[in-house]
């Protein structure tokens, strides 16, 4: 069993170096890492940023252990207990899923259909409003490679890539030399729009500071100016109108412009309406030049879950399977709202830290219901979960597909061995066990949905 394997000597003792390793930390999903492994431990990482480097170098720190109601248990016992809980639950929740690979994401949807669960993922509290806006008005977008090769105007709006996506600037958007941007930074104008200066301000040519919660107003003012209207006000959202006019001129005169946005737009007043305005602004600008926009995504495969969920159910998040077919509704089936209304009666959190990232009051409900956590590392969720199932960390100890922030698929490599099964294997075993429970051992097919 897995626990016995845990103390086994690593299979490969000779040091080895893997190249072309794909990093799972942020949505830039760099695919050029070189990782050296000695005795089952990663000892050197080349080409990664400080965040990616530490993801690999500290892969053995803070690991979780299999536990059943606070007591040490085997992985098998934990999987059996988790299956019993999920099979019995009337309105279960499956959540997390963005720090793993596509195969596990597919299995999570299969499980949701089997038990009639609500399924949502960490995009729910980061870029869900962005997708809601894309569903509303569409998006003119491009790959990161197009930005590298073509963009002579790059705007970072409400995002801080210098801290959250450290290699975005050198790989795609600021200093990198491209086909039509051969001089790199000299061929690009970089503008940051934010409520506060950040380390990104240092890599930008200009910083436009606005008042918090005024993005919708500012973008609407820009749209009016793009359409040739005059504004009566002297300033909008704390920005002088002359400064907005100068920005509009830069946008219209660029050969290829792109706006990258972050949580400064999705988590503030206006939510998806901020993005509706921004996407419409980019569309308006295509009357004058080529203009794109793209979300700065937070995890290595955060796009993957939305991709898989969309292709399998038609919706990118907030999906409810309780009737045996998928239904979608923000506010109703979104994880934060369901927990706030104390609706779900059991939760499976996998490859994400719900307790660590949700509004504090929601933790109380999660702690009051049967809570299952599948995570390679201890987190705020594993600390309070009834059942903790350790897994092999995706992109380090488990391979699989991932989608980069610009929706380009890449292959996570398995760099080291883990004594624990992958997220995908754990979900497969839970699915098999629940099917057995539902058929009551008589081999009858499992009922659809809640049955």
């Amino acid at each position: 069993m897995a626990e016995n394997v845990a103390v086994k000597e690593p299979a490969v003792k000779e040091p080895y170096v893997m190249t072309g390793v794909v990093c799972p930390y942020c949505g830039v999903t760099c695919d050029d890492l070189e990782v050296r492994v000695e005795n089952g431990k990663i000892t050197e990482v080349k080409n990664a940023c400080v965040l990616g480097k530490d993801t690999f170098l500290h892969h053995l720190e803070g690991l979780s252990t299999p536990r059943l109601y606070g007591k040490p248990a085997t992985v098998d016992e934990c999987i059996d207990a988790a299956s019993e809980i999920l099979a019995k639950a009337k309105y279960p929740l499956i959540y997390g899923l963005d720090s793993t690979e596509l195969g596990a994401q597919r299995k999570s949807i299969e499980l949701a259909e089997l038990i009639g669960a609500n399924i949502d993922h960490t995009s729910s509290v980061c870029h869900a409003p962005s997708y809601q806006a894309v569903m509303t008005v569409g998006i003119p977008t491009c790959t990161s490679g197009e930005t590298k090769n073509r963009a002579d105007l790059v705007i970072f709006w409400g995002c801080n890539p210098a801290e959250a996506h450290p290699r975005h600037a050198t790989r795609y958007s600021v200093t990198v030399k491209g086909m039509f941007t051969p001089k790199g930074k000299k061929d690009r104008m970089v503008i940051q729009v934010d409520v506060r200066p950040t380390p990104t301000t240092r890599i930008a040519d200009a910083f436009i500071q606005m008042k918090p919660n005024s993005d919708y107003e500012v973008i609407s003012a820009l749209r009016a100016l793009v359409k040739g209207h005059e504004l009566q006000q002297a300033e909008v959202g704390g920005i002088p109108v002359d400064e907005l006019k100068a920005l509009v001129e830069k946008m219209k005169s660029a050969k290829f412009g792109i706006v990258y946005w972050g949580m400064g737009l999705t988590q503030t007043r206006g939510k998806y309406m901020n993005l509706v305005a921004l996407l419409k602004l980019a569309q308006d600008l295509n009357q004058f030049t080529k203009f794109s926009c793209a979300a700065m995504r937070g995890h290595g495969n955060v796009v993957g879950m939305a991709q898989v969920l969309t292709w399998q159910t038609g919706f990118p998040f907030h999906v409810n399977m309780s009737r045996g077919y998928p239904r979608f509704n923000p506010g109703e089936f979104s994880v934060v709202d369901m927990l706030a209304r104390k609706e779900v009666d059991a939760a499976l959190v996998i490859a994400g830290d719900a307790i660590g990232n949700f509004p504090g009051s929601l933790a109380e409900h999660l702690k009051s219901i049967p809570l299952i956590a599948i995570d390679p590392k201890e987190s705020d969720t594993t600390r309070v979960a009834d059942i903790v199932i350790p897994s092999a960390q995706g992109a380090i100890a488990a391979g699989g597909m991932a989608y980069r922030m610009d929706h380009i698929p890449l292959m996570f490599k398995k760099v080291v061995d883990s004594p624990y099964p992958s997220d995908r294997e754990i979900l497969e075993r839970i699915i098999a066990k629940i099917k057995a429970i539902k058929s009551r051992g008589n081999g009858a097919p499992a009922p659809v949905g809640k049955g």
């Binding site: 803070g62 409520v195 506010g331 979104s334």
Partner: protein, 112 residues
């Protein structure tokens, strides 16, 4: 807005992203997610000093942080997100699914 009220922004920082790999129990991580960035003029206006502890209150909760002076504009405070900062965030999403994690009003006051 009263002088003790500020607009709170929660978000990522490099230190938070780096130290999380040491584990969420690691001191380095705990220190980073309990540090509130504030303009020195605001810190002094409250009669406090750089590096001291302060209490931050919202409509939903209250936490104790260590103040750190930065070039953040006056009237705005920033904290790297984590379980601590989330105590200040309310569950209302206005039916969008997204709570107000940035741009909320908080009170900052002396602790102890």
């Amino acid at each position: 807005m009263p002088d003790t009220q500020f607009i709170l922004i929660t978000g990522r920082s490099t230190k938070q992203g780096k130290s999380v790999h040491l584990g969420k129990e690691a001191q380095e991580y705990r220190d980073e997610v309990s540090t509130l960035q504030m303009n020195l003029k605001d810190i002094e206006a409250l009669g406090l000093q750089d590096g001291v502890q302060a209490r931050v209150k919202s409509n939903y909760g209250s936490i104790v942080v260590t103040l750190k002076k930065t070039d953040i504009p006056q009237g705005i405070v920033f904290i790297p997100y984590g379980e601590l900062s989330n105590a200040l965030i309310g569950p209302d999403t206005q039916a969008t699914g997204m709570p107000d994690s940035k741009g909320i009003t908080v009170e900052v006051e002396r602790h102890g």
